[in-house]
Symmetry: C2
Subunit: 342 residues, 2 copies
């Protein structure tokens, strides 16, 4: 009998590792292949980064509360975020979609309005793609290309012990926005006619429905001549991304709960839901902020920036990957936050 | 009331034109955007081509007769074909898939076996992608990157009147392979237990299930210092591709039926189905051969190649796009072949 292994058994990252375990690199132009935010290609001695992502209706987004224009915008932004996470400048995208006949041309126009708005905002060109039929739902595949000066690209596996761990913006709000929209959808479905109560929650909803990629941070690095020692964008949650940097760099890390930046409106809304704001930041995801490590000698340069926070430091691997709470307790950090929450 | 235009009303190419009608190019690095087989990007004075394609189960392939390994292989090849159609050398691909839980890890391994076999055959590197969940079926999105010496890329809109119209390989067999597989599937479903009769049809089935991209033709061009004046790969059928070159180059064309290369086994099988082999070549599609135009001065160079055929020549636009049949009659060529068949 043929063996059958369920995909769920391996998990997302396990599956990618499994499927690429025998992958061979043949071209001298391939500098970095599978395993980072984007690939790095050496074209005629200069470097290009390439990333791609697929979004599936019902898995990655719910059109009941996700406006098509925002969806178009976000599907571009999440790819640009991967380009910036390589310390590269985004230049071009391709956009492929598959849609069922439930979508009209007007619906696709709304989606593309968002795509073009993101292209304009970030100065990238839409250079290709295709449009085809799906059997069910809306499927989006975007590829993005960026440029980087030779050797200036930043991977996940190059942090050093003693480096400072830093993050841009604030964390957890996108997850709270999603939680609010899911709650209001449930109420709406159970009690037809009740309009959603989204008052005063613009910030968290905006963080979920219209995230921005941190092009400005990459530009700040260039201006201040900072090259982070490692970098990743926060799509799955702070914990998961810290673990990627630490395991790939073979290091430990000490993270300070009190240093994790959380927006005040997000914090208040978390309390009303009886959620821990720190847990939202650690495990929520979809913030599309940049998590990066720098040499301590660069501390002064980033201290002046109002929107970058030092949240911890890298240690030797044997010290473990841990969080020190506001109360002074130490917990090991896991992909889901920390064990105290499980 | 909101307007609703059905997507089918615009057609595939109409929809792409509609959605990209206001597309702006912002970066000097974008040489050619939407509208050809691939985009051309100028990175630091050197040129890179980028193409992407999405394949959806139940729309583009039927897993009842399409082995997963062949599907993996073909999904890479169809993208490489677009790179070669720009006269570029394929270098890297990304592969994203979305699958429902009906697929096991072993099934994905088979698919990736085909992906890696194509990478090995064509000397390209898999450098990224992702693997996610679909609500229904198997969805594949591939992007491919190639390199081309500056200015040596070949578009669709640059043919000249008097140029020779040429094609590689033979045409129509992939469509006949598909037709055979669809016929046997129908018989199998209607009469359970009947095994498909595919005897002596290896050629046409192979052309459909395991097409090859014409890397060798691009290498031949380089060796003989030929730069075609226009080029496109044959995915939708010879007629459709001739119309793309003629309309984009604002030219007419005279095509000779007797010159269209058709494999003898394919021709015989077409007769058994009471299909016209020429109609299969004109409208069948999925051949992944190269259709190109050359200056008549290059004729001697390609005449020596055993697998390239001159099938006609480009004319002034007012002479129209037409086919001269074996019987000596002249018909206007349409995207579906020629009108006599409608």
């Amino acid at each position: 009998m043929d063996e059958r292994t369920e995909i769920g058994k391996l998990g997302e990252f396990g599956l990618i590792d499994h499927l690429t375990r025998n992958n061979e690199i043949r071209n001298a132009t391939t500098v970095i292949g599978v395993g980072d935010d984007a690939a790095v290609l050496d074209h005629f001695g200069k470097q290009v980064v390439l990333t791609t992502d697929m979004l599936v209706e019902g898995v990655h987004f719910d059109l009941m509360y996700f406006p098509l224009k925002h969806l178009g915008y976000k599907s571009v932004v999440v790819n640009l975020s991967d380009v910036y996470a390589m310390n590269a400048t985004a230049q071009q995208i391709t956009m492929s979609i598959a849609v069922s006949n439930r979508f009209s041309v007007e619906a696709l126009d709304e989606f593309y309005d968002g795509v073009y708005a993101a292209c304009a905002r970030y100065g990238v060109d839409l250079v290709g793609g295709n449009t085809t039929t799906s059997q069910k739902g809306f499927i989006i595949s975007v590829s993005a290309i960026g440029e980087v000066a030779p050797g200036h690209y930043v991977c996940r596996n190059t942090a050093k012990a003693g480096d400072l761990l830093c993050v841009s913006g604030d964390l957890g709000a996108a997850f709270l926005g999603l939680t609010l929209l899911e709650r209001e959808k449930k109420i709406f479905l159970e009690t037809k006619g009740v309009q959603p109560d989204l008052e005063n929650q613009d910030y968290i909803i905006g963080r979920f429905l219209k995230p921005e990629a941190r092009k400005d941070v990459i530009e700040f690095f260039a201006e201040k001549e900072i090259i982070p020692t490692a970098m990743i964008d926060i799509s799955d949650g702070l914990s998961s991304e810290i673990l990627h940097i630490c395991t790939q760099s073979q290091l430990g890390c000490t993270l300070y709960e009190e240093k994790i930046p959380v927006n005040e409106m997000a914090r208040q809304f978390a309390y009303t839901l009886e959620l821990d704001p720190t847990a939202c930041a650690l495990s929520g995801g979809e913030d599309y902020e940049l998590l990066f490590t720098i040499d301590p000698g660069d501390y002064e340069k980033i201290a002046a920036h109002g929107d970058l926070s030092v949240i911890g430091h890298l240690t030797q691997q044997e010290e473990g990957i841990r969080i020190i709470t506001r109360g002074g307790n130490t917990h090991p950090l896991t992909a889901q936050g920390w064990n105290a929450f499980r």
